[in-house]
Symmetry: C2
Subunit: 392 residues, 2 copies
């Protein structure tokens, strides 16, 4: 007979999920109530309002899709893109490639603007693509590439989309809560995120917001949305304000308790303070890494504080190092994906995992596993450098 | 500042979610670990094995879709149905209608076999439709119609599908765990369920199983699956056995802890024992209802034990009664949907909500709210009849 599952103790510093605060876990363990219960509907309204604040938007269509970030991505594409339309897709990592897949599965044509993994999207190339393809329906790009740790200039890209009459579709899975995601100031049209990154909730929900322009594009569709489950013309009647709520699907009640609590915590801290904390921890980690002779894949100026792609030194068995980190320290960091497999470690400083304790634990453990592979470093140099950075 | 959410105390006897056992809630509150953690992968393997047992199948493609039952439904259609194919869809309630929507959004043609709401699917009509449409790709039907409380003859319908060379797509959202769902003995090809009905887990996951025939049909597709998120040709690499697991999306870790625990509890009880318990509680509830002069929509022989559509007596304000049940007793029962709105109450006896205590509480409370609307009943007649039934 299978026994109850007891997860091992872990410190989550990979590309997500991040450590989940016990307040969020406790919230998820509260008794399940009905998804049409007036009390639950009131809670959904609060989730919506807190997401609007976090996204810096007044968008009426702001909700949490009942699935992980990939479902949020798909929701943006299936609702906005119709067969035979053209979408300019920026690809500078795994998730740009996934956007291209989404466009094609909508029966539309993807015009790809490629940039090297580890570099931001080049707005000049994007403008050239928009100019060369009049009537483009949308420009899609990843704000914070989880596969490389690069931030692209979302404001400039959203402005370019507007200039050329295209909608902007923005992947903010890893950015929301960690760095500014300014939906209304940018004029972004469709933005999706994930619960398990800088919001430090458990995985499984995807906050999404649509501008009025996006809502109009949805209303003006000539064809039905290809997904019933993700059709926002049906979902908005479910997430719409007021007590008269149309049944669409059964919302993941307890997961939404968790997201609610994580948003309460974000607002208690203050979203600007959360950004500052992520930046501070990144600086501390970087100081420590540099003191240990390690460097980052991404050039200064385009680095995400919450996702640090660390170059694996020559001669190091990076997989063995990760296994040792997990087994000896319970510390999870991420591997490289695609062309970066074997070449980088991805160290996340997201949400509850962006603390001085996490930075120190990680640097300490890294020093130990590097030593195990013959890299001699002055004892505690990384942690000392990080602590100095945090003091100054 | 928004405060933490404290749900009110409820007794869930609607069409789902059902009451969630504290063991499942506690499991969900365990610390989040990574979705590629070896410990998590081991747990996923156990979930898969326990789902195979619950479904009575050896199907290798058995997994929990990272979304609610509607996502599981969509997964079956988008993976198996290609544009311009024909699907015979049986519609005898809300969820058959949703299947038709899914077929059409796949770009395929739905041949609808209609039966009155509250009656089972008529196999003769289905056979006529299969005969009249040679080359039909699939036959889709709802085993347990949550909107009416009707069970259709899944074995006969699956056999008809095979006979005419069609795949069978079976909605078992409300049936799994409550009545027999015998995937291999029936020869069913694609079956989906939900976590929040007779499994008594929280909503948000959808167990799905595909026969080898269904897997072959997926492999033989001429077009890509329209959904990237639900593409089983990618997902199986994620849920496939062994330690070499390809990243697809971030699984809802803590929700899966909950499903794992609910399946452990199902197997502790024994699935046949669970079916018997659901039948017993249905009989007790029915005895009580009849003693109170109330009857069911569905004729004997086609009644689901776990979903009882009770005819609202003439002159009763059914919405006011439900409101009073919720406010005075914390008891949630369901309203009628579609053409049954205002005409039935839907009383669920699912999973942890199928207990003598639930039956008695419900009958007691119903007597009280009926009395409030002027229906004089002998005090305690319903509960007494239910108790007699359970004793005998």
């Amino acid at each position: 007979m299978t026994q109850s599952f007891q997860p091992p103790k872990r410190i989550l510093m990979g590309p997500g999920p991040s450590d989940v605060h016990h307040r969020v876990l406790e919230a998820m363990a509260r008794p399940t109530i009905g998804h049409l219960d007036p009390a639950f509907i009131g809670m959904m309204d609060q989730v919506k309002a807190m997401l609007q604040t976090a996204f810096f938007t007044g968008n009426a269509l702001t909700l949490a899709v009942s699935g992980p970030g990939s479902a949020g991505m798909e929701a943006c594409f299936v609702n906005l893109i119709e067969p035979d339309e053209t979408v300019v897709v920026c690809v500078n990592g795994v998730f740009g490639g996934r956007m291209k897949e989404n466009v094609e599965r909508c029966g539309a044509k993807a015009v790809v603007v490629e940039d090297a993994w580890g570099t931001p999207v080049d707005p000049d190339k994007v403008e050239a693509a928009l100019k060369a393809n009049p009537g483009v329906k949308a420009l899609a790009f990843v704000h914070a590439e989880t596969s490389t740790g690069v931030e692209s200039d979302a404001r400039t890209l959203c402005e370019l989309a507007r200039e050329y009459g295209a909608l902007s579709i923005v992947d903010a899975v890893t950015s929301l809560g960690g760095i500014p995601v300014l939906v209304d100031p940018w004029g972004a049209d469709a933005v999706y995120s994930g619960s398990q990154k800088c919001l430090s909730c458990t995985p499984g929900l995807s906050p999404v917001t649509f501008s009025d322009r996006a809502v109009e594009a949805l209303a003006a569709r000539k064809t039905k949305v290809r997904s019933w489950f993700l059709d926002f013309s049906l979902l908005t009647a479910y997430w719409g304000g007021g007590a008269k709520r149309a049944y669409h699907h059964t919302a993941p009640i307890n997961a939404l308790y968790g997201l609610h609590e994580s948003l309460v915590m974000l607002h208690e801290e203050g979203i600007e303070q959360s950004w500052t904390r992520h930046t501070m921890m990144h600086r501390a980690l970087l100081a420590g890494l540099e003191a240990m002779g390690l460097g980052l894949l991404v050039a200064e100026g385009a680095r995400l504080p919450q996702l640090n792609a660390v170059l694996v030194p020559a001669g190091i068995d990076e997989a063995a190092a990760r296994t040792q980190l997990l087994q000896k320290y319970g510390l999870e960091i991420g591997a490289g994906l695609g062309g970066l497999a074997g070449k980088v470690w991805r160290i996340g400083l997201m949400g509850q995992s962006a603390t001085p304790r996490h930075v120190a634990t990680c640097l300490d453990a890294l020093e130990d596993v590097l030593a195990a592979q013959g890299v001699k470093l002055p004892t505690g140099a990384g942690v000392a450098a990080a602590e100095r950075m945090l003091r100054d």
